[in-house]
Structure formats: structure tokens, C-alpha cells
Symmetry: none
Subunit: 404 residues, 2 copies
């Protein structure tokens, strides 16, 4: 799929010193809560609301209508990379999530510890959801005994519970490897050397490694094998700096978000987690950068925990911190989320995400508050997340005219 829209915008970019801030309140969108409104609606947010009345409001579709995004695709969209075109393999996403620095010589895969019966059939694809500690113990055991194939390093990292990251590092490796997770029980793991086309050199290397791991784990009662999914190399995409002619920086306290920033070549300049620190660090970073991606995790965390009062409180914390950021006078400020995380669902959702864009050259008439119902009828309308950077670039005078 060709990136027609992204390439068009990129071709129109002209550099200037205007500064854009993308403040991501992760998972900020919500559903109604028993007739009492969304978290944004219920929160007391005088600073956001005052800003909303002189900003553009709208809604953002992260990936596509009705699609619930993971954090990787959600952020790529916000960075102006269509997540249906710029696809990240599960192995790479696993590495991002634990901030494992992948190199171009690496092939990454997501591993599950699993349980096989005496006949070699899978009886539990998650090995009874073993603990993180048990996961770490098993990886130590494998690392100690594994004899890596010639010229290849085998790197293993705990993710959580039954989940781990495998990285094969070496020259000339590819990701043409069959997933071994049969996605079913009562059958054996699939063979990694089954892709019908292409070089199977790396697939054979993985097959050998998986065989050794099976022997090393053979005396384990539960986690006696691994299943691998999403073999992937780190993608070779245009960097954010080149694509938008911006000098970007990430202010992000959690590994996944630093990881996805680095995936588009965005350096991480600070790792704060609280609203106050994020706004202060963003204000400071604006002295040296024309683009700041600032990430606030807790609006998503509280949503995932089903904690509506917590989510409301976290929004109010960001509202209280906002003036510090505004004092640094970004030329364009986007406040939005990478997806919605309604506490009533305890999960990411497909609902379009509220957007506030403070910028010059607006049309007026938005408000009265920064919440879903005001956003629904705002001047931005409902756009795709990948369109937000372009709109911000236009408001910042960074896009040239198309055609004479």
C-alpha cells in the first residue's frame, strides 16, 4: 500500500522555527459512565476548558473506523505514519515494550512459554501464566546452557508472566521464519522452516535454537517449551526528522513510548512520569527542539484498571500542570490520546479520541469544554490520527501550497 497522503504532505514541508507540542494523554477518551458522562466530562479542568474555547476541537480515529489500536499503531498514527502502512511486527513491539534496543542485524520474536504433553502436543499455550520470577529463572537456565549457532547471538529477555522476547543477532539474518504457535491446543508446535518461498537460513537457525530450548526445559513441569510469533526486523522507515523537517524530542517515562519514539528516530530527552514533571520538562525541551512528543501514561493505566475516579484525578493533575507548558508558548499544541481506554471496558477501545489543537489561524466557535461532546462538533471534525501532524504543520506555516 503506497503512502499517498503521507508522501504528499512530506513533499510540501518547508522548515521554519515554529514549535509544535504533541501531548499524549494515553487512553484519554471514554464512554459515558452510567449517564454521568465521560472522564473528561466529569473532571474539573478549568485550564483545558479555557484553552478549548480558543482552540480547535475534534475527534481522532487512530487506525480505522471500529478498530481498537494497540499502543504501537496508536502512536505511529499520531506521529503521522499511517499504521495500516507502517506495520510493526509483534517481535519488534515486544522489544519496544521493554525498551530493548534492536539493531539492523536483529530478528525479534515474541515468545510464550507453553506446556507440551508426552506426545509433544500443546496442552497450555501460556504454561499456566507463570510468574515474572519464574520467567526470569527459566531464561537464566536457557542462557546458561544454550550453545548459540555459529556467528549468531541469541538474546532472551523477560517481558511478563509467560511472555518473553527472543532476538537472533547476526549478519544477513532475515525474518522469513514460520510462527511456531499453532494458536490451538492438542496439536504440536508448528515447524519454523515451513515458509514456501525465500531463503530459509534464518528459519533453520531458529529451528536449531528452539530444539535446544526444548531439551533444556524438558525437566520443567509446566513451562517445557516455547512458542514463537511475529518474527520481525526493525523497520527501515523515513525518520520523523526527515519526514517532517522537524527537530524532535520525546519526553516519555515509560518504555513502550520511548521505544516507539526511537522507532521513528526521535531521541528521548527526559523520562518524567507525573503531569507536573512532564509539563515542566516539555517546556524546557522547547528551547532546543521544534517538536516535542510528551507522553502521560496514567490516564490509560487508570482506564485499564477500571478506576474512573482515578482517571478523573489524573486528568485534573494534567489540567493543573498545563499552565507551565503554556508559559513556554508552543506555536501549536495538540492534546489528545493514542486511543480511548474507557474504565467501563478496562481496555483500549475503538472510540474516536478527543483532540484539542491550540494554534494560530483558527475559526472560532469551539467549546465550551475539552470533552467528547464538545469535540464532536468542533472545527477539526473527525479526522484520522495520521492527519493531526499535517494539520499542525499547516497551522505552523510549515506546509507550502500545492500547485501554483
Amino acid at each position: 500500500m503506497e503512502d499517498t497522503y503521507g508522501n504528499l504532505i512530506s513533499s510540501l514541508v518547508t522548515e521554519n522555527d515554529k514549535r509544535i507540542v504533541l501531548l499524549v494523554m494515553d487512553g484519554v477518551g471514554d464512554c459515558d459512565n452510567d449517564g454521568n458522562g465521560t472522564a473528561l466530562f466529569q473532571a474539573d479542568t478549568p485550564n483545558f476548558d479555557a484553552l478549548a474555547r480558543k482552540s480547535a476541537l475534534g475527534l481522532s480515529v487512530p487506525v480505522a473506523t471500529a478498530v481498537t489500536p494497540g499502543s504501537g499503531p496508536g502512536h505511529l498514527g499520531l506521529f503521522g505514519y499511517d499504521p495500516l502502512i507502517y506495520k510493526v511486527g509483534r517481535g519488534v513491539l515486544s522489544a519496544l515494550g521493554i525498551e530493548f534496543a534492536l539493531t539492523p542485524r536483529d530478528v525479534a520474536a515474541r515468545l510464550n512459554f507453553c506446556t507440551l504433553d508426552d506426545e509433544g502436543n500443546v496442552t497450555d499455550r501460556r504454561a499456566g501464566r507463570i510468574s515474572d520470577d519464574e520467567n526470569r529463572r527459566l531464561l537464566v537456565k536457557i542462557r546458561e546452557r544454550l550453545a548459540p549457532p555459529d556467528g549468531v547471538e541469541v538474546l532472551l529477555e523477560t517481558v511478563a508472566e509467560h511472555r518473553a522476547l527472543l532476538v537472533l543477532r547476526g549478519d544477513g539474518l532475515d525474518d522469513n521464519i514460520g510462527e511456531t504457535d499453532p494458536q490451538a491446543i492438542g496439536v504440536p508446535p508448528l515447524c519454523p522452516t515451513r515458509p514456501p518461498h525465500g531463503d530459509l537460513k534464518t528459519a533453520k537457525i531458529f529451528e536449531q535454537v528452539a530444539g535446544q530450548i526444548q531439551k533444556i526445559l524438558s525437566d520443567e513441569p509446566k513451562a517445557n517449551m516455547i512458542l514463537a510469533r511475529g518474527f520481525a526486523k526493525v523497520p527501515d522507515w523515513p525518520t520523523f526528522a526527515r519526514r517532517w523537517k522537524l527537530n524532535p524530542a520525546a519526553v516519555a517515562g515509560y518504555p513502550m513510548y520511548r521505544g516507539v519514539a526511537r522507532l521513528v528516530g526521535m531521541p528521548v530527552v527526559s523520562q518524567p512520569t507525573t503531569a507536573a514533571d512532564i509539563c515542566a520538562e516539555t517546556a524546557q525541551a522547547l528551547a532546543n527542539h521544534t517538536f516535542i512528543f510528551a507522553h502521560f501514561k496514567y490516564t490509560d493505566k487508570t482506564g485499564e484498571d477500571g478506576d474512573l475516579p482515578g482517571k478523573i484525578r489524573r486528568i485534573e493533575e494534567m489540567d493543573a500542570a498545563l499552565p507551565t507548558l503554556l508559559e513556554a508558548k508552543p506555536d501549536v499544541l495538540i492534546v489528545t490520546g493514542d486511543h480511548s481506554t474507557p474504565p467501563s471496558l478496562r481496555a483500549h477501545s475503538w472510540h474516536p479520541v478527543p483532540v484539542l489543537m491550540s494554534a494560530p489561524h483558527l475559526r472560532g466557535g469551539d467549546g465550551p469544554r475539552f470533552e467528547e461532546i464538545s469535540c464532536r462538533s468542533g472545527q477539526l471534525g473527525t479526522v484520522h490520527a495520521k492527519e493531526l501532524i499535517p494539520i499542525a504543520m499547516a497551522h505552523a506555516g510549515k506546509l507550502e501550497k500545492f500547485g501554483a
Copy 2:
């Protein structure tokens, strides 16, 4: 054109026992009527309005902006099949309209009886719009005298007035046949064997059949020839059941709508025509199915007749019947049309169609009524018809997350 969106959604589908109802009030959308509002606005609909205030409202674009859809494309969009990708030939649509059961060995075409002059030029492309009876008489005459080519059955059915259906049935037939309707008068019918590429075996068979028909009709004063358009085979599409992992059923009293349901493999379980019967049969079918397509014809019929009071009354009939359907507690209920049919236009139109979606996980703030102006500012926004099933699937918990 690849079905990127449909394939994406289909790849995310996970099965559960939640039940979705799509209630199509055919042609329900309207224009304003002399300042008195649309048919929905003028109708007294206490049940729809109460539902609207706790539902999501929006507008649906059946095919593309400014495009007036026929019934086939209008319904395919509602079934989640982009009508610009899933195209149905006119021959197949003619068969659907009279509920003629096409087989994979069939090639269907839409016929017009026409009038040729002594030089063989078309003088009337509709043969003076002959009556249905006259049409039937002519087909009896042709059937009696036609000698079908070896290995081919020639099936002919009256549609209405000058319109008929032709089906060639046999092994290895294709639809690579040139349309013979010149779309002009004063010129002869076009030659069916003129496609520049491909096997012309079937084109030659049709040429032979058309030649015989011309001889058989040569003594007729008006309808002395036929013109053929839209040669098409029944399409080989993924079934609705497989595409959405739903167990679907159609409740539809009119042939065209049963036909378009069958085109996507949806069985017809009941054929009611009144609002009361449709709601009762839908409620009953919900016991055994996870998806019901229920079709109400009269809102379109009255629109086509230019009968605004009739259209209002038909809407009120459905409103009165609605509680029977609601008592069966579908998890998601979509109420919409396949297009608008304004009585002032006496025809299908391009206007986006009002949508009401009753579902869990909504945002609130919609209403106060189920009519075009409330729908315009509803939380669904303006979507394409093909997105409605995906949105309903999301609300029913039937779509997995995209990316980790």
C-alpha cells in the same frame, strides 16, 4: 481494487454469542418538505425517539458522496461489502429482483424488448413500454420456438413492462459478451462477439440465440427484437457468515432483498411485509441467530410514489411495532435505510441516511429524536454504510485489538 478495510476488519473478528439486528427501513431518509421537515421529523415516533436518546445517532453514506444507490449496492454496503469493490452485474441484479436462483453455471443478462425498423435500426429501445402481459406472451412464444444451442439451456423470465431476464446455463460459460444495447436510436443493435480479448465461445452462443429470437419476433409490430445488457455470473464472494463469523438470517418480504441476502449466503428465515410481523419474526429469529437482517419495504415504496403522508404513516407503523423487537433484547440494534427516497423526488437519492445504533459502550449526548437533524450531530458522525457492521461488531465485543 483491494478490499483493504473489509479485510482488515474481517481479520480482527472473534466470535461470541452477542446478537446484532440490522433493521432496514428501505429509503427512510428524506429531504425537507416545504419547510415542514423530513418524513422522520414529521412522524410521531415515541419509541424511536426514546431509543435515540440512549443510542448513537449518525448518517450513513451508502456508496460514495453524491452517489444515488440502487437497492443491490445499497444493501451490500449495509452488509459490510463495499459496493465499489463488490460489484454486481445488471444481469445478476435482474435475477435477484425476481428471486431467480442463479447457479454457478449461469450467465445472466438484462433484456429489453425493442423495436427495429426495416433496415434493422433501433427506433424504440423499450418497444413502447409494453405491458407485463404482453411481455409474458412474447416469452412464451420465444420459449416454444427457440432451439437452444447444444449443451446450453436458455431461460427467460418476465421482469416488468419491456424488461426481462435471460439466463444461459451450461458448463464453462463466461460473461465475456458484448452488450447489444446501442444506448441510442437510429443505429442497429451492437454485435455481442466484439470483446477484443478472451474466449468468445459464450458470446457466439448468445449471438446465435439472439438471431433466433429476432426471427421468432419478426412478425411482431412493436417488440420485434431484444437488447441485452449486463452479462454477469453470480459472484464468488466470501459469505457473510465467514466474513463476520456471524450466524445470519434474513427476514425480508420482497424478492430483491431476499436475493441480495442470498448473494452473501444469508438464509431467508421468514418473509413478512408489515412492520408488526417484521418485528415479531425478527424477535423470534434472534433465538437461533447472531445476526438478523430485517427489511421493511414500504418506506421506500411510499417515497417512490411521492406519498409523504403514506411514508410518515409507514414510519409510525414501525415505531409502534418496535417494542416487540426490543423485548428480544438484541445486543446491538442498527436502524437505518439502504438509501434515501424523498417523496418530493419520487426516487432513490444521494442524501446520507439517518442511522440509529443502540449498543453498549456509548458516549451519550445524542437525540432528542430519530430524524435527520438529530442524526447530523450524533456521536456516530457521518460514516460509510460499509462501516456500520464493523462499528456494531466493535460494540458487541467481536473485534480484537490491532497491534500489541
